[in-house]
Structures are given as structure tokens and as C-alpha cells.
């Protein structure tokens, strides 16, 4: 009984530690609402840390093109994302016209994009730290050995 309790505590500890690690970089959220009667509605919330972790297992050849395109911009990305993390929350860009409203804002360590047009309402929130890790992972793809 005592051994079982020890094993149980070990498993629980691992699950809690793993969960904490997964949640450490916040959550990525994508919400889409199509306005037409039979339109799609879905909302996905994913631990942001999963994205760079998953990218680590994607074969390099699949990322080679994206990596080559990203690499020239890495100095700017490396400067911009941490700088944006340090900025206070607020609206960065807002476009309003009769048929569309687009809002890009920084909220609590995430970049939030809201688009509301005639057909759809889209909400995307991406934690900056996870986005940076994912971009770095893609940019580094060419440097790693192929699977």
C-alpha cells in the first residue's frame, strides 16, 4: 500500500510538472466564427510550448524553405519580439472601414489579432515567447541534421 502511494505521488508529480512546463509559455488561442447560417464555429486552445516542441520533431526538409526565407529576418525578429514583450499592453494597429475591423494588440505577453469582416470573426492570440521559440526552431532547421 505504501509503495503504491509512493508510485502514485511520483506519477502525480510528473503529470503536474509536465503540465506546468507545457503551460509555462501560456496558451495559443484560435477562434473562428463564420457568419453565414451554416458557417463553422470553432475554438482551439493549445499550450503554446507545444508548438516549438512539435516543430523540433518535424523533418528538416519540410522546414528548409521556410527556414531559408526566415533567416535574413532573424536579427530583426530577435530584437523585435523581446522588445515587444517589454512594452506595456496596448493597441498596436487598428484598421476600421465600413466592412472590416482589424485590431492587432499586445495583451499580457501575447500578440492578439482580431478580425471582424462581413464573413468571419477571427480571434488569434499567440504568446510572444512561444512564437519566438517556434520561429527560432524553424530558422535553425537548415543547421540541424536531417532525420
Amino acid at each position: 500500500m505504501f509503495i503504491l502511494a509512493k508510485v502514485g505521488i511520483g506519477i502525480m508529480g510528473t503529470v503536474v510538472a509536465g503540465g506546468a512546463m507545457l503551460c509555462s509559455e501560456g496558451f495559443m488561442q484560435v477562434k473562428v466564427h463564420e457568419k453565414q447560417a451554416d458557417g463553422t464555429n470553432f475554438s482551439i486552445v493549445v499550450p503554446a510550448a507545444l508548438v516549438p516542441m512539435t516543430l523540433h520533431f518535424v523533418p528538416n526538409r519540410k522546414l528548409a524553405d521556410a527556414s531559408a526565407k526566415l533567416r535574413p529576418y532573424m536579427p530583426v525578429i530577435d530584437a523585435a519580439i523581446p522588445a515587444l514583450e517589454d512594452c506595456p499592453d496596448g493597441v498596436l494597429v487598428e484598421v476600421t472601414d465600413p466592412g472590416e475591423h482589424v485590431l492587432i494588440a499586445k495583451r499580457g505577453g501575447s500578440v492578439v489579432v482580431d478580425v471582424n469582416d462581413g464573413d468571419d470573426v477571427v480571434h488569434v492570440a499567440v504568446p510572444l515567447r512561444a512564437a519566438h521559440s517556434a520561429i527560432r526552431e524553424i530558422a535553425a532547421a537548415n543547421n540541424k541534421d536531417s532525420f
Binding site: 536579427p75 530583426v76 530577435d78 530584437a79 523585435a80 523581446p82 522588445a83 515587444l84 517589454d86 512594452c87 506595456p88 499592453d89 496596448g90 493597441v91 498596436l92 494597429v93 487598428e94 484598421v95 476600421t96 472601414d97 465600413p98
Partner: protein, 200 residues
């Protein structure tokens, strides 16, 4: 009770520091509006963000925080010296051009370089006001090489100037405003003094 006496000043000091840090962020705002079409674009860029990102850009004419503008300086012209001379010159109008289709006025007023253009020709008449604080103009021209503008230094200088409208363009269809203040979500530069109007 003793703990409260000790902790209270510390808490007040911390809160004050945090409040000062929060309010010290300066923003470059761009607002383009077209009331006829009900279109509005607002861009708010924290200057601290621009200060860190611009030196990292290496694209086209912008490299290492400096904008290369080709042969701006002739052999005997030093842009920096001209700005220095203008800074110490008394306030007043430097250039006034009045033509049938446009008026142009360049002046130094209240420690700022003011450029005012009125385009009277054509169907889409435009007023353009540009206000550049001297410290910003000097920072922009601070490079020894006269063929480049130091954008990074100008942004640092912008952080230290007061609230100011840098560019105001007004036409029949559109208005464009570019200004600096400490508000992260300002709708318009209403509280900021407008650039000097054409005096004549």
C-alpha cells in the same frame, strides 16, 4: 505596528516607481482617417520598441539604425554644421515661397523647425505641417558622414521631447497625423499644440 511603519514607505516608494515606469513609455502615433469613406487606420508604436528594432534592420537604405540618402552633402556642405548654425540662429522665418498654386514656409519657432506647405492647386488641396524639435533634427544629422540620417539617435531624442505633432496632412478627403505622447491608445492629438499656421 512597527512593521507597518517600515513597510508603508517601501510600498509607497515601489508603487511610485512602478507608476513612473509605466507612464514613462512614449509612443509614436500615426492616424490616417478618411471620413468620406469611413476609414480609419491607427498605429501606436512604443518608442522603446522602435529604438531596439531599428538598429537590427538591415534592408534597403536603412542599416545599423542609419538611413542612407545618397549624395545629400556636396563637398563643401556639412548638414550637421548647418543644423548647428540654425539652432543658434534667432527665431524667425528662413524661407517663404508664395506661388499661385502653393505656399511654402520654413521657420524656427519655439525651439522647433517648422515646415508649412499649402498646396492650392488641383482639386485635392492639401495642407502639410511638419514640426521637428531641434534636438531631434540634430540627432538625425549627428552622423559625421553627411549622406546618412541617424534614425536611431533621432528616436532616442524623440523620447525626451514633449508631446508634439510631428506631421499633419489635411486634404479634402484625408487627414494624416503623426505625433508623440505618453498615451498608449490616444485617439487623436487633441491635447497637443497644433503646428503654427501660415502667418500670412
Amino acid at each position: 505596528m512597527k512593521i507597518i511603519k517600515i513597510a508603508l514607505p517601501v510600498v509607497v516608494l515601489l508603487a511610485g516607481t512602478m507608476a513612473m515606469a509605466a507612464s514613462s513609455e512614449r509612443y509614436l502615433h500615426i492616424r490616417v482617417s478618411n471620413p468620406g469613406q469611413n476609414e480609419l487606420v491607427r498605429v501606436n508604436v512604443p518608442l522603446s520598441f522602435a529604438e531596439k528594432v531599428i538598429p537590427a534592420i538591415d534592408h534597403g537604405q536603412l542599416r545599423d539604425g542609419k538611413l542612407h540618402v545618397g549624395k545629400l552633402s556636396a563637398d563643401s556642405v556639412n548638414l550637421k554644421m548647418i543644423f548647428e548654425a540654425l539652432k543658434t540662429a534667432p527665431e524667425g522665418e528662413f524661407v517663404t515661397v508664395q506661388e499661385n498654386d502653393s505656399d511654402v514656409r520654413v521657420a524656427k519657432e519655439h525651439g522647433e523647425l517648422i515646415v508649412h506647405v499649402v498646396d492650392k492647386g488641383g482639386k485635392d488641396k492639401e495642407n502639410v505641417d511638419v514640426t521637428i524639435p531641434w534636438d531631434v533634427a540634430l540627432a538625425l544629422a549627428s552622423e559625421q558622414d553627411g549622406d546618412q540620417f541617424n534614425v536611431e539617435a533621432a528616436i532616442k531624442a524623440l523620447e525626451n521631447v514633449g508631446d508634439v505633432t510631428l506631421v499633419a496632412v489635411t486634404s479634402r478627403e484625408e487627414t494624416v497625423r503623426i505625433w508623440i505622447d505618453s498615451s498608449s491608445s490616444a485617439d487623436s492629438p487633441a491635447a497637443i499644440a497644433k503646428p503654427a499656421a501660415f502667418s500670412k
